[in-house]
Every structure is written in structure tokens, then in C-alpha cells.
């Protein structure tokens, strides 16, 4: 690991910010926050490790489990919270909610309620970069379950064929809702599917943020240099239920405990940086405090924001036509 201190602090900040965001969502859920919510707890190293390599102009597409991607890409916490609260001040003016969170101001092109819905969108976004001669890279996050959608195949083939600057990042968290990855996917390492498209496929420990960071760095750099797409698979684990309220009959409590206790990506990161002493304890504490302040501010912002006006419900069904 050859990251400088600022980068390390940044990574810690991003991982913990996601974790604390999700914990807050969990606390508020069923009360101020309603509707389906899929939490990212335990998977923070993936979004963080990948997005730490992206520029603001770079783009990402997300999944139904989109909070982590949104924050890692640098989204504003106020607007993110307000959206989950269904408020007019939210990123989507309360039209989207958790499953359709998007933050175009930082290049996050949207969570998606359709599993596998992001493959083609990311591919198209990369196509626009190519057509318009831009240097931006697109990252497409997807789950192990999503890897079995036909959209995966069509998108990756097209991107490979046209050499598009897009990295498909598989968050293989072992489960797709109640279904184990091995019961739905006829291959152990999803990144191995890259061979069917003549592109690179790399599988890494997704709870080791350094491993994710390094692999992503290599692939993103290559894509930016015109070397085309790749698949990066990060093996991780979903600590919470599939959605808030999931009875989780499909797995044992001990399976979850094992990951929680011995493989928490944030704890692993802390252990690693503490071992080298690169970041001091006060600096760590400082990050925590910053996040708590940011959170409290955001929650308050969301709570005192106004709800959308029912009469405006049909606004934005169509975009305004400019005289062009």
C-alpha cells in the first residue's frame, strides 16, 4: 500500500460516512424514512476503493443498493437524506427515494430498481464519452445476482467490441435476496466471464479496501487511456438483510456474525493503518467527528425540509422542450 496520508484519511472518511449513513437510515426507518431500503453495510470497501480512483466528471451507475455508491462518488449528504425522507429538497425532489437515488452533480447517474438495469446505461454513458472525445470513465456497479441478466452479456459484449471506457464492478456479496450466489450463477468467479468478451477480469477481496483500490486503479487508468472495458469482481458480504425488514430465513446468524466480527472492511482498514501508524488516533477521531457533524446537519436539514406539493406531482414527467 503506497497511499499517502490524505488518501488514507479520505478512504476512511468515505467508508465510515457510508456506514454511519446506513446506520442512521436503519434507525429512522419505519418512522421518518419509509419504503424499501437496501443497506450497504459491510460492503463499504467496494464503492470506496473504486470511487477513490474517479474524478468528479467520471460517471457511475448504481443498483437498488445505491446509497454507498452515491456517497462514495461524493454526493451531498443533505440532499441524499432529504431524498430518503421524500422531501422537495432531496436529490430527486422526493420523486425517487432510496431505490432511485441519483446525484447527477457528482456523476452518479442513478440507483436502479431493475436488477441489471445499469449495465446498458453505463455502457451508453461510456459511448457518449467516446463519441464526444471525452476522457471520462464510467463505472457500473452490479450484484452477483445481476450477473445472470441478459443485459450483462449484451452490455459487456458491446463495450468490449467498441472498446468503451467502462469498468463493470461486481459486488459479489454471496446473496441475491434469498438466493445464494452459487445457486444462481454457474461460475464461481463472475470476473471469469470476462474471457467470453476478450477483456480483463479480476477478482479481489472486496473487504480489503486496498485490494479494491489497487485493482480499480489499474483498470480505470487503462480505460481512461483507451484500453477498453474490464470486469472487477469484489468478494464481499451483505451484513444487513436484503432489505430493511428482511426476515432472513435463508442464512444462519452465525454466517453473518462471522463476517461481521472477522471481516469488517472498516475494522480491517483501521487495523492496517494502525499497524503502520500512518494515521494518528486523533486524526481518526477527527474523521469520526466530522462525519457525525455532517450527519446531524443533514438529518436536521431533511427533517425541516418541506414535502413536495401534490399539485406538482406531474411536473418532470416530461422534460421542457427548449427552442433548439
Amino acid at each position: 500500500m503506497t497511499l499517502n496520508k490524505d488518501k488514507l484519511i479520505d478512504i476512511y472518511y468515505n467508508m465510515l460516512r457510508i456506514r454511519r449513513f446506513e446506520e442512521t437510515v436503519k434507525k429512522k426507518h419505519g418512522k421518518q424514512i419509509i419504503g424499501p431500503a437496501h443497506l450497504y453495510i459491510g460492503e463499504e470497501a467496494v464503492a470506496t476503493g473504486v470511487c477513490s480512483n474517479l474524478l468528479r466528471e467520471d460517471l457511475v451507475t448504481s443498483t437498488h443498493r445505491g446509497h454507498g455508491h452515491t456517497l462514495a462518488k461524493g454526493a451531498n449528504l443533505r440532499k441524499a437524506f432529504a431524498e430518503l425522507y421524500g422531501k422537495e429538497t432531496g436529490y430527486c425532489k422526493g420523486r425517487g427515494g432510496s431505490m432511485h437515488l441519483a446525484a447527477f452533480d457528482v456523476g452518479m447517474l442513478g440507483a436502479n430498481g431493475v436488477v441489471g438495469g445499469g449495465f446498458n446505461i453505463a455502457t451508453g454513458a461510456a459511448l457518449t464519452q467516446q463519441i464526444l472525445n471525452k476522457k471520462n470513465v464510467v463505472v457500473c456497479f452490479f450484484g452477483d445476482g445481476a450477473s445472470n441478466r441478459g443485459t450483462f452479456h449484451e452490455a459487456v459484449n458491446l463495450a468490449a467490441l467498441w472498446n468503451l471506457p467502462v469498468i463493470y464492478v461486481c459486488e459479489n456479496n454471496g446473496w441475491a435476496s434469498t438466493t445464494n450466489s452459487l445457486d444462481s450463477t454457474a461460475v464461481v468467479n463472475i470476473a471469469d466471464r470476462a474471457r467470453g468478451y476478450g477483456i480483463k477480469g479480476i477478482t479481489v477481496d472486496g473487504n480489503d479496501v486496498f485490494a479494491v483500490y489497487n485493482a480499480a486503479q489499474k483498470l480505470i487508468k487503462a480505460a481512461r487511456n483507451g484500453d477498453g472495458p474490464a470486469i472487477l469482481e469484489a468478494k464481499t458480504y451483505r451484513i444487513e438483510g436484503h432489505f430493511l425488514g428482511d426476515p432472513q430465513k435463508y442464512r444462519t446468524a452465525s454466517e453473518v456474525e462471522e463476517w461481521k466480527l472477522n471481516n469488517d472492511p472498516i475494522e480491517r482498514f483501521l487495523k492496517a493503518i494502525r499497524a503502520t501508524g500512518e494515521v494518528s488516533e486523533p486524526e481518526i477521531e477527527n474523521v469520526k467527528r466530522r462525519i457525525e457533524d455532517e450527519l446531524e446537519d443533514a438529518v436536521q436539514f431533511a427533517e425541516r425540509s418541506i414535502v413536495p406539493t401534490p399539485e406538482d406531482a406531474l411536473e418532470d414527467v416530461y422534460a421542457k422542450e427548449a427552442a433548439r
Binding site: 419509509i34 422526493g94 445481476a146 435463508y250 413536495p308 406531482a313 414527467v317
Partner: protein, 326 residues
């Protein structure tokens, strides 16, 4: 004839069990149906009873429907669970170009006894991609049958009839219906696939509806009947492909007034087809404009305040009744 109170989910589970028991070529697959017995418990315990004839699948909707067609052409009787009907678009080509046409294109050589269970309708606060009623697309597709139960009893009866049918049947079951209670006959229940039912007799006005929304209609009717002391006829379509024209036309010839009401978006909805049928075939009997009630022309927003303003309910039905009963 004894009747027992059951929720819709359990009534359809009985249908599955009875038909799987009866016919070894019936089997079922879908996403996440084993471990939690389906999102609404509609497959609870089925895997324990029938083992490999009940399968969890990958998230591969085109494969689920397409393989259903192949399985049926090869002599099986698959029941395919679509998880959410919101994603039925993923499988539209399989439905339109394979499922609906195979029997015809091949001159009757093969048949496609496939049932597609498709939970649809508003899932509160789940926003635009998880709250849709898309049944209108299927009115215009020849070669398929499309039914929409409204109660535990006709849910069971229609599902059993669908499984026994030699034709592909789409079974749209509203997400909010699974937990609805109703009396279900204790003996064999088979509900015909192509017949509407008059669920409430009347002379002042005809309301055509179907599915979960029928409950909203009946609520409005109860209030209106008291207020106007007149009787309103309510027809439960049950099937939207084919539409039972005879029952509708007979009723409007009697009442001279028609409302069609559904949870789906009003524009281009099933109500349009019903209105058009009546405007063509019973025009001379109609005394007032035909009113359609349905959701506004918008994707469903997340925020509860917006959600309520876009969706429709008994209030809108009542307003329509008021217009016609003045």
C-alpha cells in the same frame, strides 16, 4: 357448501398444491420462491412437498418465460412466477413472439400450457419501478389469456383453471391482494377463464372494474347507494383477454350509464377498450358520457404526498358516480 375464510396468498397456494398433486407435469419456478415461500408467502412449503418441481431461479426473466414456452411445447405445464410484474417488459418478446404465437404459427402442432403469475399494482412507497399495472398491453395480444383475480376464491379458481388450460395464461395478482381475506368454497373451485361476474346487481348505472381495485369500487358504491337510494351494477371483468362483452353490454343496455375503473393509468388502459366496445356495440342505449377512472399519467413518485395525488381510489369512483347519478 361450506366456505372458509382465507387470505388470497393461501388460497392460491392451495390451487398450486391441488394442481401439482393432480398432474405430475405441473411444476413451478421463480426467483426466491423456496426459502421464504415467495414475497407474499404464496409458495410457502411448496418446495417441501414437491421437491425439485419447485425451483429457485437466477435473475433471468427472459429465460424464465422463454424456458416456460419450451417446457410447455415439450409437454410440461410450467407455472412461472415473475416476482414483480413490473419487470414483465423484460419478457415481452418471449410473451408476444413465442408464448402467444407458437400454437398458431406452427399450425396447431404444439401447445403452450404455461401460467405466468405476475404480481402487479402499487407497492406503497416503492416508487416508479415497483408499482405498476401494465395489464393493458396484453389486451391486444392474440393467443394469450389474461385473468385478474379480485378475491381469494376467484384467485384460487382462476389459478386452477389457468393451470389446466391448454393456452398460455397471464395471471395478474395485485400485490395488495395477497393479504386480503375472503371466503373460499371448501370443495373444488374452478373459475372460468373468460367470464365476467356481476358482483353487485343494480339498475341505475354500470361500473366495470377488476382485481384489487374492485374493493375500492364497492366502497364507493356502498356510499353512493345509500346517498342516492338507487342500485348500481358492478361487474368484475376477471378476464381482460378476452373481455366478456356480452355481460357488459347486457348490463349497460339495462342501466344506460357506464364507469370503468381500475388502478392502472387511465390513458390507454383497459377502460379504453371497454368504453370503445360499448360506444360501438351499445351506443344507442347509453344516456351519459362514459367515464373512465384510473391513475394519472405519471410514473409513481416516491413521496407519499405525491403518490396519493397520482394514484386513484374510491374517492374518484365516487366522484364519477356523482356525475352520472345527478
Amino acid at each position: 357448501m361450506t366456505k372458509v375464510l382465507k387470505i388470497f396468498s393461501d388460497a392460491t397456494l392451495e390451487a398450486m398444491e391441488e394442481e401439482m398433486q393432480r398432474d405430475p407435469s405441473v411444476f413451478v419456478y421463480g426467483e426466491d420462491i423456496i426459502k421464504q415461500g415467495g414475497i407474499w408467502g404464496q409458495f410457502k412449503g411448496l418446495h417441501n412437498k414437491f421437491g425439485d418441481r419447485v425451483r429457485d431461479t437466477p435473475i433471468s426473466e427472459t429465460a424464465l418465460v422463454g424456458a416456460g414456452v419450451g417446457a410447455a411445447l415439450a409437454g410440461g405445464r410450467p407455472v412461472v412466477d415473475l416476482h414483480y410484474a413490473d419487470f414483465i417488459g423484460i419478457t415481452m418478446d418471449e410473451i408476444l413472439n413465442q408464448m402467444a404465437k407458437a400454437h398458431y404459427m406452427f399450425g396447431g402442432q404444439g401447445k403452450v400450457p404455461l401460467v405466468l403469475r405476475a404480481p402487479d399494482g402499487v407497492f406503497p412507497h416503492a416508487a416508479a419501478q415497483h408499482s405498476q399495472s401494465l395489464e393493458t398491453w396484453f389486451v391486444s395480444i392474440p393467443g394469450i389469456k389474461v385473468v385478474i383475480p379480485s378475491t381469494p376464491e376467484n384467485g384460487k379458481g382462476l389459478l386452477k383453471a389457468a393451470i389446466r388450460s391448454n393456452n398460455p395464461v397471464i395471471f395478474f395478482e395485485n400485490k395488495k391482494l395477497f393479504s386480503v381475506k375472503g371466503l373460499v368454497r371448501d370443495s373444488e373451485v374452478i373459475t372460468p377463464l373468460d367470464k365476467a361476474e356481476i358482483v353487485h346487481k343494480g339498475e341505475a348505472l354500470t361500473i366495470v372494474s377488476y382485481g384489487y381495485f374492485l374493493g375500492e369500487v364497492l366502497k364507493a358504491v356502498e356510499i353512493a347507494e345509500k346517498k342516492h337510494s338507487s342500485r348500481i351494477e358492478v361487474i368484475d371483468l376477471r378476464s381482460i383477454n378476452p373481455i366478456d362483452e356480452e355481460t357488459i353490454i347486457k348490463s349497460v343496455k339495462k342501466t344506460g350509464k357506464l364507469i370503468i375503473a381500475h388502478e392502472a393509468i387511465k390513458i390507454g388502459g383497459v377502460g379504453s377498450e371497454v368504453a370503445a366496445i360499448v360506444a360501438e356495440k351499445a351506443f344507442d342505449y347509453i344516456k351519459k358520457p362514459i367515464i373512465r377512472v384510473g391513475a394519472k399519467f405519471s410514473p409513481l413518485p416516491f413521496s407519499p404526498q405525491l403518490e396519493e395525488s397520482v394514484t386513484t381510489s374510491s374517492k374518484d369512483v365516487l366522484a364519477a358516480i356523482e356525475k352520472l347519478l345527478v
